[in-house]
Symmetry: C2
Subunit: 107 residues, 2 copies
DNA sequence: TATATAGTTATAGAACTATTTTAATATTAT
DNA sequence: ATAATATTAAAATAGTTCTATAACTATATA
């Protein structure tokens, strides 16, 4: 398991996360269209994000679908909570509800 | 101005931030006591955190006092908000109140 | 002024990171 | 089977980061 903080430290990787925040189940080719760099480069960034558990990968035919792992990102927000000695329950509840809704919508 | 995400990507630097979250106005020597590494190494980590605007430096005699810049950290939480398309007002208000209290206590 | 203290800066080596090009693999379609 | 497509893997290169040691700067004190 790679460090999620290292994974977040790259501009392109954070941009990928924002893309996946807007749209789940994107394929590498589609993601690469938003960047200047090559598909192999994007593939590596996706692997780093996956190894940091920030995104999830699903194989479907010859495609690989990538989606945000929202729960992991929440873990990172906990660092800021610790820094402020503050509990951020509202965000947790919000995301957990959103996850449930998503599951229900997936046929 | 250095990248705050790069600054956060190092374990020791995040540990420094947690230390400063518990106690403001720490000096490098005091911070270094919490680590295995040398004072020059800590000094460089503090510089990186300062250049990322995550901490503030104040000179007092031959000492340098370091404190968290809570507002900057909040900016980073906004990234997670963007990813979730969610506004985290409660945390903002909390930290802003805390800043005011701190200022009032500093005679 | 001399000395001690607190801290930074310079430098060098090891380890890590990112990107590109080229090749390899897996799946689907013909 | 063969070709086409989507994607990862490998190898080479370039650049960055971290740490330690040594040298330097600034302040305080005797």
């Amino acid at each position: 398991m790679g460090s999620p903080w290292k994974a977040l430290s790259d501009d392109n990787r954070r941009k990928i996360l924002l893309l996946l925040g807007k749209k789940d189940n994107m394929i590498p080719t589609e993601i690469a269209e938003h960047f200047k760099s090559t598909l192999p480069a994007i593939s590596i960034q996706l692997r780093i994000l996956k190894e940091a558990d920030l995104i999830a990968e699903r194989k479907l035919g010859k495609n690989r679908l990538y989606s945000l792992n929202r729960k992991k990102s929440l873990k990172l927000v906990e660092f800021f909570e610790d820094m402020y000695d503050y509990k951020l329950n509202s965000l947790k509840e919000y995301v957990e509800n959103k996850e449930k809704k998503k599951k229900n919508n997936e046929n």
